[in-house]
């Protein structure tokens, strides 16, 4: 013990202190709640046992019971649709915009900066705006679709079970596109220009240059963005609260919203924690992909 203190005092153990402080911080604020959450998923935690320190241990009963509930699979399917739909939309539109601004016309960087406005807006505000846009009676989206002849009757986006999930997906794509665009813009600008010149001299046209230079050089950025997208969409909560509230009849409910609903509306904290643990596994997987993709950056 005295040796450890001495090594800190003479500066040799200082690096351990520097690592230790953030590590302790992380453990207290992220590690402990995570462990506590896992623990709760193996306990019966409801209004009666919430206040006690030692709660009844139920093993994997929560997991078994959860998967016996009829709404579980539809909600997990909704989650999958929400994640894939949001990421695909954000990525494709974000990449398109990034390529568009990459052509650097006058004012390009200024305009690109303005796009970030959508990302800095709180989810609840975005939800409120999209509530108006998506509104069945007076919504602007319905107006455009109707006037352009795509639909004949109004779509009740938020209350029609066939559309309610897509209402949130659309809002989420709008919210996340600019973040995708900025990261992809950074990735694009990191590709040395002389590679394109070399490829041009080697006979590649614009389309071939995109497939053989741009895309492979963007691999790590794309990997990072998909992984971050998975994390962000699994965290998306505000939009559900603001637009559909998971309804009607769970048609737009997703795992993260359901976990909150179970815990704080139905007061079944054990089952809420169980869903969180299942989601944590997916997010951990995404995090591992993200860390790997940033490590594999291509350098010339």
């Amino acid at each position: 013990m005295r040796r450890i203190i001495a090594s800190v005092r003479d500066g040799r153990g200082f690096d351990f202190v520097l690592v230790g402080v953030p590590f302790a911080f992380l453990f207290a604020l992220a590690g402990l709640p995570l462990i506590y959450n896992i623990l709760m998923s193996f306990q019966e935690v409801d209004m009666f046992s919430l206040g006690s320190f030692i709660r009844p241990f139920v093993g994997i009963d929560n997991y078994v019971a959860l998967f016996r509930q009829p709404e579980t699979w539809p909600i997990l399917t909704n989650t999958l649709i929400f994640v894939v739909g949001s990421i695909a939309g954000q990525f494709v539109i974000g990449f398109g915009l990034a390529l568009f601004f990459w052509t650097s016309f006058p004012g390009a960087s200024w305009l690109r900066g303005l796009f970030l406005v959508s990302w800095v807006m709180p989810g609840l505000v975005v939800g409120a705006i999209w509530n108006w846009i998506l509104s069945g009676d007076f919504g602007v989206l319905n107006f455009f679709l109707r006037e352009s002849g795509l639909i004949t009757a109004n779509i009740f986006w938020r209350s029609d079970p066939n559309f309610s999930l897509w209402a949130v997906v659309i809002a989420n794509i709008w919210l996340g596109t600019s973040f995708n665009m900025i990261l992809l813009s950074v990735g694009l600008s990191a590709i040395p220009g002389d590679l394109y010149e070399a490829a041009d001299m080697d006979g590649a046209n614009a389309w071939q240059r995109f497939w053989t230079i741009t895309l492979p050089m963007m691999r790590s950025t794309i990997g990072a963005i998909i992984a971050l997208g998975l994390i962000f969409t699994l965290q998306q909560f505000d939009l559900f609260a603001a637009i559909t509230d998971g309804g009607p009849n769970n048609s737009s409910n997703v795992a993260q919203y359901w976990a909150w609903d179970l815990s704080f509306r139905q007061y079944d904290f054990g089952r809420g924690a169980t869903i969180s643990v299942i989601m944590t596994v997916f997010v951990m997987f995404a995090a591992a992909v993200y860390v790997r993709s940033t490590r594999h950056e291509v350098r010339g």
Binding site: P192, L195, M201, D202, G203, R299
Partner: protein
């Protein structure tokens, strides 16, 4: 000889900036042409205009008989070796080499065979499966060259390809590039700021300054008969000495602006009293016996490389001369320097153009 590349009246503007001024240049098939000049002289711009990476504002660019002004780079069939090499970092050496072939749709087996053949020439056979980041600077340089060779292009364009290598490797690669050029019977345009590279590698040297071709010709012709003071000072190391002088009253003699000089007879007639610059290369200055024509100069510094000794004088402007082997001179000595008249270049003091004949 057929002309592989023909530039006539090429001008290039960046906004109001006139980067290339009325460039005329003919490059015969099989020639090795060096574009040389200080940075910002337009030599790289000229090369990139050839490649199609820059557009030409006016004039005609003809490659192998075809006007190429508005042709995109990929249709010009020229290969370029970049200063940064511009290797594709996500591809192995073999993929780098075969990129152009794969784009053209050449079969895999055939492309692989071509890569192996070129790699054998450039000594990359063992490195075909490495990535560029796993190669040394010299090896990357070879990959960049091989990528150009594999295409059998109409011409090779080199943009300061050796400037990122260390001095020893640079001297070696100089010979190797020239040997490859001869072996392939290629046409090459080589941009460099190093006059030694230009002199040793090229058949035809083009000296540029501020977007203008100051002089072009065979390397030794430029050395022997520089057209103006800039070219005279640019070619040769150490650089030529320039001594201010006046033409004597008879118009056939020269009075150097140095203490204790006599009149030197000229073999050409110039306007009496005209101010000129006399250029003498350091290797043409000799120590003269006291009874011969010359000028007395005090010595301020002696630098010896072993094989040769550079001596600097305490005059204004300072004069450098070269002695072979070791020198017995010391700083503080005064020597009498002389030169043969046929080794003297006379330039007009104002226009800096050459006055003396051949």
């Amino acid at each position: 000889m057929t002309q592989q590349i023909e530039l006539s009246g090429i001008n290039k503007y960046y906004g109001a900036y006139h980067a290339l001024r009325d460039i005329n240049l003919s490059i015969p098939k099989g020639a090795f042409v060096a574009l040389v000049g200080p940075s910002g002289c337009g030599k790289s711009t000229l090369l990139r205009s050839l490649a199609g990476l820059e557009t030409i504002s006016s004039g005609d660019l003809v490659i192998a008989g075809e006007r190429m002004n508005d042709m995109p780079p990929r249709k010009r069939d020229l290969a370029m070796v970049f200063q940064s090499y511009a290797l594709y970092p996500h591809m192995t050496v073999e993929q780098n080499l075969t990129y152009s072939l794969r784009i053209k749709g050449v079969k895999k087996a055939q492309a692989k065979k071509a890569a192996e053949e070129v790699a054998a020439i450039t000594g990359l056979s063992d490195l075909l499966h490495r990535y560029p980041r796993e190669l040394s600077g010299g090896q990357r340089q070879r990959v960049a060259m091989s990528r150009a060779i594999i295409r059998h292009p109409k011409a090779f364009l080199f943009d300061e390809p050796l400037s990122n290598l260390d001095a020893a490797l640079r001297v070696h690669m100089r010979k190797e590039i020239r040997a490859l050029h001869d072996r392939l019977g290629a046409t090459s345009v080589y941009v460099t700021h190093d006059q030694v590279e230009a002199m040793t590698m090229a058949d035809h040297v083009v000296i540029m300054r501020a977007g203008v071709i100051e002089q072009q010709g065979r390397p030794l012709d430029l050395y022997d008969r520089p057209a103006n003071r800039f070219v005279a000072g640019f070619i040769g190391s150490p650089a030529m000495n320039f001594i201010p002088a006046k033409i004597g009253e008879n118009g056939r003699s020269l009075v150097l602006d140095l203490p204790g000089t006599q009149m030197l007879d000229l073999d050409l007639a110039l306007q009496p009293g005209r101010e000129v610059l006399v250029g003498v290369r350091p290797e043409h200055l000799v120590i003269a016996p006291p009874d011969q024509l010359g000028f007395d100069v005090p010595i301020v510094a002696i630098e010896s490389t072993g094989a040769t000794t550079f001596v600097t004088t305490q005059t204004s402007p300072e004069i450098v001369f070269v002695q072979n082997g070791r020198s017995s001179l010391q700083a503080g000595h005064t020597v009498r320097l002389g030169f043969a008249l046929e080794n003297v270049h006379i330039f007009d003091a104002a226009s800096e153009q050459r006055l003396s004949g051949d």
